[in-house]
Amino acid sequence: MAETVIEAKSLVKKYGDLEAVAGIDLEVHAGEIFGFLGPNGAGKSTTISMLCTLLTPTSGVARVAGIDVVHDPAAVRQRIGLVFQDPSLDDQLTGRENLEFHAFVYSVPAQDRRRRIDEMLDLLQLSDRAASQVKTYSGGMKRRLEIARGMLHQPQILFLDEPTLGLDPQTRTSIWTHLNELRSAKGVTIFMTTHYMDEAEYCDRIAIIDRGKIVALGTPEELKGMVGGDVVTITSSKPDAAEREIKELLGVTPARDNGSLRMEVPDGKAFVPRLVRELQAPVDTVSLRRPSLDDVFLKLTGRVIRDEEVSARDRNRAMASRWMGRRR
């Protein structure tokens, strides 16, 4: 078993009566990509903020790179890289200037600055645009620059809070390719939050968090194994009748989701012909698939993860940039 680089024990964060994080235990090992998965407001960002020393836990212990986050936050920060959910670049400066700023405030030795900046620009494929102002970058380039910046002081652990939020699917895939490359080139441990279930599949291990608690933890395969076998979904013009018949004739209790009926069965290939044969109610469509992490989440919490809405902060920012016009 590899060395443990992140360790949390009964970590709690309360805001008044509200328990945003309600006692979290986890261990992350050196070199793995660990995904923190859950819907909006589940406590992902609060947890990552405590691990990054941006928030003080109400109770519990967390050690990052072997250092207690409450006891010596500065030492923790020197050893971790951060990519925030909200943009945090200076878009008036060039890409290289943003990295230089970071190298200074993170005390990268003067003789290493240029070499490391060049190396990171190269790894994240930003070398040819390094001299352009960040305001001319695309969303994906900005994200890559933030990742390059987070890696500049050679952290042991890179924390990313929703790194692919708001990016198109192609860009999201390329960010993942880069993260995997970084891991192999630099041996860095990656801890990230996401609410995109499909992305969690790239992780070595995942913790699913809901209402401030970890409800499942394991490799994507292990978690999918928690859903019994295959997932069969049908739509019917008479869903009530279909639901009753499935219960009575096939002995399976389907779950209703927006007019479709969804059931987990051990052997989907054998189940579907039986279903079509025995049901009196009309069956309009049938689909059969292997379980996904969405199914795992649904099974554990009884709910579906939805896309995040535009946050209040984003709206403020849009308003501010309209209002201030040229100043920025």
């Binding site: 070199g31 793995e32 790179a65 920060r77 200037e97 405030v105 050679q154 952290p155 041996g187 100043r327």
Partner: protein, 291 residues
């Protein structure tokens, strides 16, 4: 789980413990440098911020000068536009310093402040770096206006210019510190208009930039003496006008007085410096509270 990748590059990050005092000095430098870089890059802002003082001098100054005529100087030969010119330099410094330092609020709004605040540096370095950034921008802005001296009938010698530089610096520092302190208490851009209307404008009007601070109604005399900008603009005026062939009594006739006594310039400088240091201290304390 793949953990085969633990490469030797991990070692250096742990090996070198960082001297936090040196780290904070470096941080002050780079925070200051970033502000200067942004200032030079934004040519439009430079032009716009020179346009306002020009407008004041050309329109407001010329207009008032001709309508007052000789009445302004009480026979001492000083024209209103000569009187106003150092005040406009002060105005330019006042607005640039406060706005420059308050760019922290923009940094907060647009996310960059987070990058600074999570860095393993002391928070006081951020406050000081920003104050120095605002100070430098305001000084440059104020000193550029010195090229207008010949057009308003003000003579400057090299020695005078050399004396103006530190005075401009002190005024700029006091007000930039004020700006940093305001920014440390503001969480969003919403408070900005309030600061502009209820703090900066009164501060400017009461500073003696536009009219002499002698012979005013009592309530106003009080307010002008409380306004810290008065203590920065007065020495600036006395030094800027010192080469223009005006008598000492003519210049003293407009100077800042307390109980009828003209304040010595070193005392005024001391007041301004103390103001700046106290406010910067408050800003540092505000920044150190974790948010």
């Amino acid at each position: 789980m793949s953990v085969e990748t633990a490469s030797p590059t991990l070692a250096p990050a742990q090996a070198a413990p960082v001297d936090t005092r040196m780290a904070s000095l470096r941080a002050i430098y780079i925070i200051w440098y970033r502000d200067i870089l942004r200032y030079w890059r934004d040519r439009w802002r430079l032009v716009a911020s020179l346009a306002q003082p020009l407008l004041f001098l050309l329109v407001f100054g010329s207009g008032l000068s001709s309508s007052l005529g000789g009445a302004f100087g009480r026979g001492t030969g000083i024209s209103y536009i000569q009187f106003m010119y150092p005040g406009i330099i002060g105005m330019s410094i006042l607005f640039t310093a406060i706005f420059g330092a308050m760019s922290i609020v923009w940094d907060r709004e647009f996310g960059f402040l987070k990058e600074v605040l999570v860095a393993p540096i002391d928070r006081w370095a951020v406050a000081i770096g920003k104050a120095l950034g605002g100070t430098t921008q305001a000084m440059i802005q104020g000193l550029i206006l010195l090229v207008l001296a010949p057009f308003v009938g003000v003579k400057l010698s090299l020695l005078t210019v050399l004396a103006i530089v530190p005075l401009a610096a002190v005024l700029a520092f006091g007000l930039a510190s004020f700006g940093v302190m305001l920014a440390s208490m503001m969480k969003s851009l919403q408070g900005f208009q309030v600061v502009m209307n209820f703090l900066m404008m009164p501060m400017f009007f009461l500073s003696g930039a536009l009219f002499p601070l002698q012979g005013l109604p009592d309530w106003m005399t009080w307010l002008t003496r409380i306004d810290p900008a008065s203590y920065g603009i007065d020495p600036l005026r006395r030094v800027v006008l010192s080469d223009s062939g005006l008598s000492k009594s003519a210049i003293d006739g407009f100077a800042l007085t307390i109980a009828g006594q003209v304040l010595p310039i070193p005392l005024e400088v001391g007041v301004m410096l103390a103001f700046g240091l106290v406010l910067l201290g408050i800003a540092v304390v505000m920044f150190q509270r974790r948010d």
